[in-house]
């Protein structure tokens, strides 16, 4: 069985805590990897830099990407991931508080699979995460691994 993991790219510890809790509550049967900025996210995906020694058998089922990140910005991470051959088809869900039209347009133009806005209400947030998990991890057919 493959080692599936969700990559959560989130700089805010509070948001991280709430997201993890929401994921946990919904019994998502995946490991969750949390990285705190864009550079670290890329390092992890490409198994380099700070994460050079990570387990290469790990399969990233979906990337939950916040937009405002230190070091490398969320949209930039998206762009780089979409340019690299091995991550071209990687499912990436933008999870952000911004509802600005420009972010939506940019996100989709750069090739995000989905754009979710984090609601303030925790109940709604929880529900959103649940649905996310259900969709991307269970319902959605993953693209084949390109190696």
């Amino acid at each position: 069985m493959q080692n599936k993991v969700i990559l959560l790219v989130e700089d805010n510890p509070n948001d991280e805590a709430l997201t993890l809790r929401a994921l946990g509550k919904n019994n998502i049967a995946n490991g969750i990897m949390v990285v705190r900025d864009g550079a670290e996210a890329l390092d992890f995906v490409f198994a380099r830099g700070a994460h050079a020694g990570r387990d290469r058998s790990l399969v990233i089922s979906v990337v939950l990407l916040d937009l405002k990140l230190p070091k490398v910005d969320g949209l930039e991470v998206l762009r780089i991931l979409r340019e690299a051959k091995e991550t071209r088809l990687l499912p990436i869900v933008i999870l952000t508080s911004s509802k600005e039209e420009q972010d939506l347009i940019q996100g989709y133009s750069l090739g995000a699979n989905s754009y979710i806005r984090k609601p303030v209400d925790f109940g709604q947030f929880s529900e959103a995460v649940r649905q996310l998990g259900l969709y991307w991890l269970v319902l959605n057919e993953r693209p084949p691994q390109e190696r």
């Binding site: 948001d15 709430l18 937009l67 952000t96 508080s97 303030v120």
Partner: protein, 485 residues
């Protein structure tokens, strides 16, 4: 002088001509008389056939040297006696035979030939012919001519003399005047004055001329002054106009600067909104999230009151989130570009009504929508406007079992206005002026939910379209909102 000379010449020529003509006649007369006298004196000689006597009588003619020759003819025309001037040169040229009844005269070859009958007791007995040369006449005429020319000469001299004097007195001043006039008109120098020489009419003329020049000079000065003044004014006006133009340019530039600044401010606002939507929401989310977690995980450790507090914390953060959303929307509407097009507003209202019905499927609300109304406006903004107005109508008829919402266009206060009418809670007209303020509410949240931003948004949308919005209501009977675009 030319005039006088020519006149004299003409006159003289006239006299000469006259003399010529009359002298001829005189000569003929004289010769005729002489011929008759000779005739009378030779009657007896002819009658008694005495040529010698006749010749003797005729020799008396030598008294007149102009008579060249004379002849007497008998009645049959035969030459009877002759006379010829005795200067040794003259040759007798008279014919030997003439016609018996010859009479009369002719001028021929520089001589005058004259014949007269000799009559005795009423009977013609012979003819007298005399030939005279024209010397006398010529001499006389010569004399006449010389006299005439003499007179002419004298007259001319006199005329010359007179005219010279006159020139000095008359022509010269006039010529001088003419020269001055020309100088004035050519040089445009109005200070020239002609010299006054005498007290008479010429002098008067010169004086008058000078007066005229003075007048002209005065006028010229006045004209020059006016011209200068005008130029000055033109210069001033030009300067004024230039200033105006410069000011206007400055105004334009200021406007441009303002436009630029506005653009910058708008950009800053956009950045601000972005920031707000992102950064303000995050902590709210955390507040809400952790309160919820608290409620879930530590419910047994908290009493009712504690749980109630936590719930209030959650509610407060939710409300704040709503407020932030509303504010962001309002600011977006202010910033957005207005694109006018023809919109089927009736259909838009129907769409909004449909979506409202879907939110509460159990409610029965009667919608009366006037069909086929079109308006010129920005479609998305109009949608927001109708969402708010109809949403309000929907909300405030919530307690009414027979809710009725109307939409249409009518004439109100002399204008064509759209209206949304409901038979809901209405409001007190005393507070009508507060209706459209941001976050102003005329009902409590307990009665009807809402942040009070809806009408402020509507108000702004209407104003951006250049229209007006106002409302009429009766408490507990309903409200009508009118707006123009």
């Amino acid at each position: 002088m030319l005039v006088s000379t020519s006149v004299l010449l003409l006159a003289s020529l006239g006299f000469i001509a006259y003399e010529l003509v009359t002298y001829r006649n005189t000569m003929v007369e004289n010769l005729s008389t002489q011929a008759e006298i000779v005739g009378i004196n030779t009657i007896s000689a002819v009658l008694f056939n005495d040529p010698t006597s006749a010749a003797q009588t005729m020799s008396a003619l030598r008294v007149k040297p102009s008579i060249v020759s004379a002849a007497i003819y008998k009645v049959d025309g035969k030459l009877f006696a002759r006379y010829v001037r005795s200067d040794g040169l003259t040759i007798f040229q008279m014919p030997e035979q003439i016609e018996g009844n010859t009479s009369g005269y002719r001028f021929q070859n520089g001589s005058l030939f004259l014949s007269r009958p000799i009559v005795s007791e009423g009977e013609r007995v012979g003819t007298v012919s005399i030939q005279s040369d024209l010397n006398e006449m010529e001499t006389r005429i010569k004399r006449y001519v010389s006299i005439v020319f003499g007179v002419l000469a004298i007259s001319m001299l006199t005329a010359y003399g007179v005219s010279s004097r006159l020139q000095g007195r008359i022509s010269e001043p006039i010529l001088h005047l003419a020269k001055m006039a020309k100088a004035v008109s050519v040089e445009k120098n109005y200070s020239i004055r002609a010299v006054v020489d005498s007290r008479d009419e010429i002098g008067q003329l010169v004086n008058t001329f000078n007066e005229m020049l003075t007048q002209i000079q005065v006028r010229e000065n006045a004209l020059q002054k006016a011209h200068d003044k005008l130029e000055l004014r033109v210069k001033e006006r030009t300067r004024e106009l230039q200033q105006e133009i410069a000011e206007r340019k400055r105004g334009e530039e200021t406007l441009k600067e303002y436009a630029e600044q506005l653009k910058i401010v708008n950009k800053e606002l956009e950045a601000f909104s972005y920031s707000v939507s992102h950064d303000l929401r995050a902590p709210l989310r955390h507040v809400d999230g952790f309160s919820q977690i608290l409620l879930e995980d530590y419910a047994e450790k908290l009493d009712e009151q504690g749980q109630s507090y936590l719930r209030q914390v959650r509610e407060a953060s939710q409300k704040m989130s709503q407020l932030i959303d509303d504010l962001l929307n309002l600011s977006r509407i202010t910033r957005a570009e207005l694109r006018r097009e023809s919109v089927d507003i009736s259909r838009l209202v129907e769409a909004v009504a449909e979506s409202l019905k879907k939110t509460e499927q159990n409610r029965e609300v009667e919608f009366v929508i006037q069909k086929g109304l079109a308006a010129q406006g920005d479609a998305p903004l109009l949608r927001v406007l109708l969402d708010n107005l109809l949403g309000n109508a929907w909300k405030y008829t919530g307690k009414r079992p027979q809710a009725r919402i109307e939409f249409g266009r009518a004439e109100k206060d002399g204008k064509e206005a759209y209206f949304v009418r409901d038979n809901g809670a209405g409001f007190d007209m005393a507070y009508a002026h507060k209706l459209f303020g941001a976050f102003q509410r005329l009902h409590s949240v307990a009665e009807f939910p809402g942040t009070g931003i809806g009408l402020a948004t509507v108000h702004r949308i209407v104003h951006r379209h250049g229209g007006q919005i106002w409302a009429e209501a009766v408490p507990d009977q309903g409200a009508t909102f009118y707006f123009t675009l």
